[in-house]
Every structure is written in C-alpha cells, then in structure tokens.
C-alpha cells in the first residue's frame, strides 16, 4: 500500500515586518521578506508524523501557488522532510482571490494524484481559513478541518476538532482534505542534513496551461471579489501611561470609572464598531 499526501503551503509576507498594499491593492511583496506561512509548518509536521507512524509507503508532496520567491517556502518544507514539491507559478495568477486559489490548488492536487491533502488552519496574511473547505468542495471529498489531533489508519482519517461550544471527534474515508491547527504539535526545525538533502529534491513548476485553467478564471481580472480601498489604520493616539508607585490600581480604577466601565448593575451598552 502507498499513501500520497499533498501538503498545501503558502508563501506569505513576514507578519513581524511592515506589511503594505501595493498600488493595485494587492499585497506588496517587494516591501517585506516572505516566508513559509508559519501555520503551514504544522501541516508539514503532521504529514511527516503520519508518514513516520505508517507501515505504508508514504510520499509527501508540498504544493504552493505563488510567485517566483514562493520557491523558498517549498525549500523550507522540503528541508523539514517532504519528498518533492510542486510550484504553480504564472504571471496571470497575480491577485487571485480565495475562490481562484482553490481552483489552482484543486487542479494541481488532482494532477499530482493524492490520497490525503493536508493544509494549515489559515494563512498568516489573508487568514480567511476557507481554502481547505473550498478545495474539499472542488475535489468532492470529505473535509476534516481544524484538527488539533490527526491520525490515519485503515484508509480512514480521524481527528479532534475543538469548536466554540464543543470538542468533536471526526472520521472520514480517504481521500480527504484535512487542515490542522497550531495545537496539533510543534513543527520540527530542519536539520543541517535536511537542508542539504532539500537541495537535491525535485521541484516541478506548473503554469496555468499545465492545469487547464484559463487566465480569466484567476488573477485580479478573474477574481470574484475586489478590494476597493486599503487604508493604513491611524496610529492610536498616545495613551496615558503611569508608573505604579502604590497608586496604580486607584488611578486605573479612576480611568475605568470615567469611561463608565464600572457600573453598579450591568455592563455598558456596546457602541457600534468605528474603525
């Protein structure tokens, strides 16, 4: 038996850097360093653990849809231990929205061949957390998403999803699409050996033609959503900062009372969100 795992990984601007929008209201990628979305490291980690816990032959392919530099994200995933990589790259992909991204991913996953897709819970830039569900919808296979624990055995995937009101145990037959949270287990650091080995691992590059996707189905022009404006949030006006010299709690209570947060009977009526 063999198990083919495709891990979807996104190349994103470093969240600790100064992120901006470009003139066309897409992400300005020149301004800030990019990296493998940290939450996708957890997806790679779970693929490696499934492989290590399996008696089957497991092949792990990492897949990204992104610009030329996105190759760095693939290299990182390969150095963690993935076997091979696919880079979907095409100028016409610039500005693709979530629906379009899921199209490119689903077509590439089908072309690559798969038994299991593993994604991160959300990217660290768009952060919608919807691409795994969209890919499952397109592939017509079960979605087993937002797992904090995952296992594969006997052609089935099982896992735990911690929701708002309950924690659920889930089960589905393969093939399936899984996404994992950062509660699933710390991602390993690439070893020196892993980094050296990654240099020799194959990275395939596919464009839209390879995936039978028309240019007008993706990119800014093909997007079903449009960003009309992007404004940097004004810096907060400097707040009051006091050093506690015994009176700190009293001063803070004074402030809270002034803002009417200390009420005798009920919490204050919420004001509408003004951003």
């Amino acid at each position: 038996m063999s198990l083919r795992i495709v891990v979807t990984v996104k190349y994103v601007p470093d969240a600790t850097g100064d992120r901006h929008f470009a003139d066309d209201l897409t992400l300005d990628r020149d301004d800030v360093d990019g990296l493998l979305s940290e939450l996708d490291e957890y997806a790679v980690e779970q693929a490696l653990q499934i492989s290590e816990n399996s008696d089957d032959d497991v092949e792990i392919t990492v897949l990204t849809v992104g610009p030329e530099d996105a190759r760095d994200a693939l290299r990182k995933a390969l150095s963690m231990g993935a076997d091979k990589a696919i880079h979907v790259e095409d100028d016409d992909l610039h500005g693709t929205d979530a629906i379009g991204t899921s199209l490119a991913l689903a077509k590439a996953i089908e072309k690559a061949g798969y038994d299991l897709v593993i994604s991160g819970m959300a990217s660290t830039d768009g952060a919608a957390g919807i691409v795994p569900a969209l890919v499952a919808e397109r592939l017509g296979v079960p979605q087993v998403t937002l797992l904090s624990e995952v296992a594969v055995a006997d052609g089935k995937v099982t896992g735990r999803r911690d929701g708002d009101t309950a924690s659920e145990q889930l089960e589905a037959q393969l093939p399936a699409v899984v996404s994992v949270t950062d509660q699933s287990g710390e991602a390993r650091y690439p070893s020196f050996k892993g980094i050296m080995a990654a240099k020799k691992k194959p990275v395939e590059s596919w464009d839209l033609d390879d995936l039978d996707i028309e240019a007008e189905q993706v990119g800014l022009a093909g997007a079903w959503t449009k960003v009309a404006s992007a404004d940097e949030r004004p810096a907060r006006t400097a707040g009051t900062i006091v050093k506690d010299e015994g009176e700190g709690a009293k001063q803070l209570a004074e402030f809270l009372a002034g803002q009417k947060f200390i009420c005798t009977s009920h919490v204050p009526v919420p004001r509408p969100n003004s951003l």
Binding site: D125, G163, A172, G239, V242, T264, V267, N273, L275
Partner: protein, 320 residues
C-alpha cells in the same frame, strides 16, 4: 425590498449574539430572512423576529449534528434557491466561514470573510475588513454573483426591530458529500458562567507574566468584578495555565470588546491580531518597553501581582 439571507448560529434554539448583530446589519440592505437548522431550530423564532427577521426558515435533521459542515451548506443552498436573496450573511466563526465559502463556490459568488462593517454605496454592498493584524482597513465588494459575507462578532450594536418572523419549513435534500465526515463523538464545553469570550463587552486577559495556573485566579477575580470574560495569551495557554478555548489572537479567538485589559502580556503581533480592534485597551506590565504599551489608552507600568488584586478591590468598592 430585497431579501437578505442570514445563517443563524444557535445552540439548541438559543440564538448567539453575533446572529442578532447580523440582523441589525442586514436591515441596512433589505429584509432579513433567517435560516435556522438542527435541534431547536424553531425555538429561535422569538429572538429572530424581535430583531427584524421577516421570515424564519427552519429545518431539523440529525445530519446537522452527526456530520461536519456540508449538511448545513446543502440547507443554506436550498434556502438561497428558495429566496434569491440580495446577499447572504454568516457569522464569522470557524464553521461559519467554511459554510459561507462552500456555498459561495456552489452559487458562483465571491466570498468575503471577517467583515467588521457593511454598507450600501451606489447600490453596491461594501464590506469593511480589518487586515494585517488590524494595521489596515480595507473596503471590498463582491464582483461575481450574490455577495456571501461573514461578519465578525461585535461589528454592530444589537437593535430590536420587531418583524413578523413567520416560521416556514425549509425543504432540504442532502448531497452525496453531506455524510462524508462523521462526528463520532461530541464533548460540550463546560460553561464557566462568565460571558462568552467573543461576545463579551469586557475581556480581562493574562499572559506569561501571570506565571502559573493558580495565579489565574487573580485575573478571574478582576474579570468577575467587571462582569468580564477571561482571555489568555498563547504563552499562558501553551504553559497549560488556561484552556486553549480562551486564547486570544491569530490562532485563538478574535475579540473586539469595549474594554480589553491585558496583564503580563507583551503584545506580540499574533496576540495583537486578535484584540487590536478593542475600543479601549488597558495594559498592566512591569516592562515599560513592552510593545503592548503602543496600543493602550491607559497603561500601568507595574507588577500585576500588586496592581490586579488592588484594582479588583477598587472596582468592588466603587460598585458598593
């Protein structure tokens, strides 16, 4: 007037607050038609009518509890086809976003997630998002199909606006995919009696500086004096001091309360991503250089073990 479809988030018939906020926002666009699914669906009627639903489409079936996400997508699609709405609004929970996205793909519509405001400008529905850890505010529109938009909790004040809210049974036929992911067991989260983190008007959070699970009692005491929910940083959660369900931040809950009080939290970008849209921010931290102080309306540089219990006493004293 155009109809707007609202997906109802409820627990056994008790409607959660973000849905009531959606009804308020929906009335800016048209007449809200609510879709309530699963156990207790019809019991949502009174709350939904009170807040402006002209109609409540209900459907009960075991599938909604026994299988993940897809049965709800099937039902929302059935409602969409029955109503032909001008927009579909869904609360921005993890599940809500997945339902919205799959529906959008099926009905060939664009999807916008985590809107914090909605308005109609020149006949077009415009969604405001707060992105890059709330450092940017964007306005977006759906170019193709019927806008499907998920809206974050605390994006609008709940207003009552009584409407007919006539209950109608929705006819749903489940797709082949509906039973693909089985829920084999479910453990409900125990209620602490405190307000829900994402819905609370006040959140009191503790971080690594709290230095131990037992010490969270002082954070809880302050929260209780203010009628607040308790939050935690990932460092506190990873250390096992507080449950993950209380984590605030990029990979925890995103909160937008009237007041957020951070104690012993440095203010890392991933934490800020979950709380930066709070209206008033207060921090207690012994390090004057902590990045959290860049965000605050009021900050105390001091030891939380001195300040927090004393503040609790002050609050209690003022409440008399």
């Amino acid at each position: 007037m155009a109809e707007v479809l609202i997906f109802v988030d409820h627990v056994d018939g008790a409607v959660r607050k973000p849905t009531l906020e959606l009804l308020t926002l929906a009335r800016r666009i048209g007449d809200p038609v609510a879709v309530a699914l699963g156990n207790g669906a019809a019991d949502t009627q009174a709350a939904l009518a009170e807040h402006g639903a002209v109609k409540v489409l209900t459907h009960e079936a075991a599938e909604y509890a026994d299988y993940l996400v897809v049965p709800k997508v099937d039902a929302l699609q059935a409602a969409y086809e029955a109503v032909s709405p001008a927009a579909v609004l869904v609360p921005s929970s993890a599940e809500g976003k997945e339902i919205a996205a799959r529906l959008a793909l099926r009905i060939k519509s664009g999807v916008i997630t985590d809107a914090v405001d909605l308005e109609v400008a020149d006949g077009t529905l415009v969604a405001t998002q707060s992105v890059f850890a709330a450092s940017y505010t964007t306005k977006s529109t759906v170019m193709t199909g019927t806008p499907v938009i998920t809206v974050k909790p605390n994006s609008a004040a709940v207003e009552s606006a009584p409407a007919a809210g006539a209950v109608e049974a929705l006819t749903v036929s489940f797709s082949e995919q509906a039973t693909g992911t089985k829920v084999t067991s479910r453990t409900p989260r125990e209620s602490t009696g405190r307000p829900d983190l994402t819905e609370a008007a006040i959140v009191v959070s503790g971080g690594r500086g709290v230095n131990g699970a037992d010490n969270f009692a002082i954070i809880e005491a302050l929260a209780d004096s203010l009628g607040a929910a308790v939050g935690a940083s990932r460092a506190a959660v990873d250390a096992g001091w507080y449950p993950h369900s209380n984590q605030v931040g990029q990979t925890g809950k995103s909160v937008s309360p009237q007041l957020y009080i951070a104690s012993g939290i440095s203010g890392a970008i991933q934490h800020r991503a979950g709380m930066q849209t709070s209206k008033t921010i207060v921090a207690i931290n012994k390090d004057a250089e902590a990045p959290i102080f860049d965000l605050v309306d009021y900050g105390i540089v001091g030891d939380l073990f001195d300040v927090v219990p004393a503040l609790t006493d002050e609050v209690k004293a003022r409440k008399g």
